[in-house]
């Protein structure tokens, strides 16, 4: 597939469109949408209307009573989720959110303004669930539900990464991501899903992780990492799997033991947890922190998340530690406790090294590794040599969910300032709770969606370009596996010369381990930048 060049893509038209917004027709142009989910994955998960189809087909092969299914589904959710009804009713269309969406900024398509994206569903809500809409129709902003509306929903609800940046600016606090979530959930009822969400979900249901890694494959990967860490540091760490009676269960995204650059972060975890002597174990079934159910339906979130507490109970641990993953933390922080808890068989997490009691996790019993590591550094428990990261000039990309869904803003920065000498922030309206999405989250990080990903990632890449040119930044640190997979091609496209790494890769580089031999390379195997004799 020939891809548009950056200088072409950056010619964005923000002017009004000639067409009335109520016209639902969309063009499924290659590069701007994701392929449909394969029937085998729907069947595996027991989802309705499994069939062969693609979004660019004329006939989507919807079930005969698709309209009733959608309207019944809407009615059920309006009664079940008060937030959904509220978000349908209270928007005054002030437009504060309009230019806050990365997809609008990168595409100029008005239906990517969060207010209008939500209006695509509100117009149907008005038509069938309000008196004014039933009586006055178009005059009251109401639209009939047609097959073209379903196609439009599919196009735009899979052109929202559920990043929630718009919600930060909404004076009413409308969370447009929740509207997208309901939109996807309704489409799911008639079998309109994307494969990049449902194949990982089906894999997760079968093997415990998105990639479909089976227990012997998981062990092979962990063993390989242990061997390689020994070659790099001279220290052999113990990384146990399914060990009953360990104090802590450690759950990471599966990409950490599969992808690059994720893998270097995995080495960083192993080095750190060995150095402090944490009594922890992995689980070969809870071998995935991520939960693509979040991008499908509430029901799927619950089904895929159940393994976390189940494995913690089976292994008899006291609490759970979680790795660098983005959307995983929205699920763990905001859904897990009420969906699959209470985990009253676990204890309130206490760091065995510092004695710190993680009160904020007293209910979920699960701590983010950045919180855990920041606490170690704050209490002076780690020997760190930040000069080992002097080949990097670093900036930090707040991943949407850890930043906006759990408020993890200070800990990663505190760690980075401790393990790197050269750190520069991007402009303030692009970081922390105002962070710009990578453009590929919520299951949209597929190759076929390349153009839309580059468009959606433009605001983020633009901020990286600013610090790259101003401060010579050559490394973007982040704490999300989707980021680590999708930011490298984004930056290669818009800002060549900036690499991507996890925070704990940099921790692993800087960590001075007891008994280690001089580090000749960093965790990537690249030659160390300076003499190592000091620590010998």
């Amino acid at each position: 597939m020939s891809q548009p060049k950056p200088e072409q893509l950056v010619q964005i038209q923000y002017g009004p469109q000639p067409r009335d917004w109520m016209d639902p027709a969309v063009e499924f142009r290659k590069g701007t949408f994701c392929y449909s989910a394969l029937a085998k994955n729907l069947n595996y998960l027991g989802l309705p209307n499994a069939r062969d189809w693609q979004p660019f087909d004329e006939d989507w092969k919807l079930p005969p009573d698709w309209k009733r299914i959608i309207l019944d589904g809407m009615k059920e959710r309006l009664e079940k989720f008060r937030s959904f009804r509220l978000f349908m009713d209270i928007c005054v269309r002030c437009g504060a959110c309009a230019d806050k969406c990365h997809f609008f900024l990168g595409s100029g398509d008005p239906k990517n303004m969060p207010v209008l994206r939500a209006e695509l569903m509100r117009s149907v809500y008005r038509r069938y669930f309000t008196l004014a809409g039933r009586l006055l129709g178009r005059l009251a902003g109401a639209r009939d539900l047609t097959e073209d509306v379903i196609k439009e929903w599919f196009y735009y609800f899979y052109q929202c990464t559920e990043c929630r940046r718009c919600s930060v600016f909404c004076p009413y606090g409308i969370d447009t991501a929740e509207i997208t979530m309901i939109g996807r959930e309704l489409l799911n009822l008639i079998g309109c899903n994307i494969n990049w969400v449902l194949e990982p979900a089906a894999n997760c249901f079968r093997t415990g992780n998105h990639l479909g890694v089976q227990p012997h494959g998981f062990k092979d990967s962990v063993d390989f990492a242990v061997d390689e860490l020994e070659e790099l540091t001279g220290i052999r760490v113990d990384a146990s799997i399914n060990r009953k009676g360990a104090e802590v269960l450690f759950i990471v995204p599966s990409a950490d033991y599969f992808g690059t650059p994720h893998y270097y972060t995995f080495l960083g975890y192993l080095a750190l947890l060995h150095e402090i002597g944490l009594d922890y174990t992995f689980s070969a079934f809870a071998s995935e922190g991520g939960n693509f159910g979040l991008f499908n339906s509430h029901e799927m979130i619950k089904r895929l998340n159940a393994k976390v507490y189940a494995e913690a109970r089976r292994l008899g641990v006291k609490w759970i530690l979680g790795g660098e993953c983005g959307h995983m933390w929205r699920v763990l922080h905001q859904y897990m406790d009420t969906m699959n808890g209470p985990a009253d068989f676990l204890e309130v997490p206490v760091s065995p090294v510092t004695g710190t009691r993680f009160e904020h996790a007293r209910s979920t019993k699960m701590v983010h590794i950045c919180e855990f590591t920041a606490d170690l550094i704050h209490n002076g428990k780690l020997r760190l040599d930040p000069s080992r990261n002097d080949h990097w000039t670093v900036t930090f990309h707040d991943s949407c969910n850890p930043a906006r869904a759990m408020g993890l803003l200070e800990e990663p920065r505190y760690i980075l300032r401790s393990v790197c000498n050269r750190f520069h922030e991007m402009p303030e309206n692009t970081i922390r709770e105002q962070t710009f999405c990578c453009g590929s989250g919520s299951g949209l990080g597929t190759d076929e969606n390349f153009e839309m990903r580059m468009r959606g990632g433009l605001p983020r890449a633009n901020a990286v370009k600013y610090v790259h040119q101003r401060h010579g930044v050559n490394l973007l640190a982040c704490i999300c596996a989707i980021d680590k997979a999708t930011l490298p091609p984004l930056l290669e496209y818009w800002v060549p010369g900036v690499e991507v790494a996890g925070v704990h890769e940099l921790v692993g580089n800087a960590l001075v381990m007891r008994g280690e031999r001089p580090r000749l390379t960093d965790l990537r195997g690249e030659p160390a930048t300076q003499a190592e004799a000091v620590h010998a």
């Binding site: 990982p200 992780n209 990639l211 012997h216 494959g217 390989f224 995204p253 033991y257 599969f258 991520g290």
Partner: protein
């Protein structure tokens, strides 16, 4: 379901051109799919990567870690990209008849 036609043979593939049924793979299949990945000729270096992927897949049911692939074959990641322009997951795995990895990768 899309079909990939080459040298008078046809294969069921997914939208990205990956072989749908990994069990029909043999060396001729790899050579056929090379044409779709911009690989002009399969050299010993290509076969080293393809065979490693294939054997790993038969044992574990999935592609190996990218880092492991590099280490066990002795090629750096940029060298893999030179051999297979779409990279290890999308290029090399396609020629070896493996399904495309999905998730945060």
């Amino acid at each position: 379901m899309p079909v990939f036609e080459v040298h008078g043979r046809t294969y069921d593939v997914d939208e990205d051109g990956f072989l749908q049924e990994p069990s029909v793979w043999n060396q001729d299949v790899a050579a056929d799919f090379a044409t779709s990945e911009g690989v002009a000729e399969l050299t010993d270096a290509h076969w080293k990567v393809i065979n490693y992927l294939r054997n790993y897949y038969l044992q574990f049911g999935i592609a190996p870690m990218i880092r492991k692939l590099c280490k066990e074959t002795g090629f750096k990641l940029n060298e893999i990209y030179q051999l297979f322009p779409s990279g290890p997951a999308k290029g090399a795995c396609k020629l070896a008849g493996l399904p495309k990895p999905t998730g945060c990768v």
